[in-house]
């Protein structure tokens, strides 16, 4: 039974290959500055709806949530906080018999932009699609509050990498523009024209930067080719007041 839980857990991105000491304590990744924040024995690990891996010890570190089965050869599961989309305290007996911590895991499929319908195409392969939900059920009901708090604190210590910055703000330009009032929209467009004044090629017709259209027409006069690049060696062009 447990091997199928381990397999299901692996599918959800749970680490089932956790390094443990002889005493079945967690080997901390000191290179990653991992520290043990709290250790709680007598906690059941439940995957999905009803895959209970049995009782174990819950180790909450500054980098991971690690559960080690109390069985000498039982499994150990580890989650990084980046995988935990959401966690909460569940107290309603109709949802689960005992108060517990409810966690929803990020399987990553959404990030890849794969399917809003969430894994429809995968169901045919295996018997069941285990939902990415984990429950940590302490034998002592009162422990849920402490575990919840530690999870909050440690999650805050593990933000996503700094790669995600201001520049990663995605938006639908058309949608944003459509939502603006006419005045603001005009102002935004005008701003863009001003900023994007990278004069290319001929440089005529768009040279609003230093003057109005009339000014340009005056300069061009009757000689439209006046500002075009020279084909051959010539006296060079007379470009008035640095339109470039």
């Amino acid at each position: 039974m447990t091997s199928s839980i381990a397999a299901a857990a692996r599918k959800l991105g749970v680490d089932t290959d956790v390094s443990l000491t002889e005493a079945r304590d967690v080997v901390l990744e000191t290179a990653d500055e991992e520290e043990l924040t709290s250790k709680c024995p007598g906690v059941d690990f439940v995957l999905g709806d009803d895959m209970n891996a049995g009782a174990g010890v819950l180790h909450l570190t500054t980098r991971r949530v690690v559960w080690v089965s109390s069985q000498p050869s039982g499994p150990a599961f580890a989650l990084r906080y980046q995988q935990i989309m959401m966690h909460a305290i569940s107290r309603d007996p109709t949802s689960y018999a005992k108060p517990c911590i409810y966690l929803q895991l990020d399987e990553g499929s959404e990030d890849m932009g794969m399917g809003g319908a969430g894994g429809d195409g995968e169901e045919e392969e295996e018997e069941e699609q285990v939902s990415a939900e984990v429950r940590l059920v302490p034998a002592e009901d009162a422990k849920v509050d402490e575990i919840f708090k530690v999870l909050c604190d440690c999650a805050a210590l593990n933000p996503d990498s700094e790669v995600e910055g201001e520049g990663d703000f995605f938006f639908d330009e058309a949608e944003v523009m459509a939502g603006l009032d006419p005045q603001t929209r005009a102002a935004v467009i005008a701003d863009r024209l001003e900023e994007g004044m990278d004069l290319d090629d001929q440089g005529e017709g768009e040279a609003m930067e230093n003057g109005t259209r009339e000014d340009l027409e005056q300069l061009v006069g009757n000689d439209p080719s006046r500002f075009e690049d020279d084909e051959e060696e010539d006296e060079g062009q007379g470009q008035p007041d640095g339109a470039q």
Binding site: Q82, M85, D92, Y102, G118, E133, A156, E166
Partner: protein, 94 residues
């Protein structure tokens, strides 16, 4: 991101709806927010119960900032003009 952190701080106590990247929609009272825009909601109400039936019993939750797709704000909770100006300023100054 500081802009949004400040914005959300002004909404603490108000009712918001957080839409996650996995389409889950949770309404609740904004209890707190941190610099990573991790959100804690109180007295939550889940909108897509069919997909996540167990969540109905949950009262408070902590949502990781990076999985939020949208935060739906109550109308009138935010002065949109000020927000427009502030975001434009940040985009330029950035």
């Amino acid at each position: 991101m500081v802009l949004f952190f400040s914005l959300f701080k002004t909404l603490v106590g108000k009712e918001v709806t957080v839409e996650l990247k996995n389409d889950l929609c949770i309404s609740g009272q904004l209890h707190s927010v941190d610099q990573y825009l991790n959100i804690k909601l109180a007295n939550i109400r889940v909108h897509n119960e069919q997909k996540y039936p167990h969540m109905i019993s949950v009262r408070n939750c902590f949502i990781r900032g990076s999985v939020v797709r949208y935060v739906h704000l109550p109308p009138g909770a935010v002065d949109v003009e000020i927000l427009h100006d502030a975001t434009r300023r940040e985009a330029r100054g950035g």
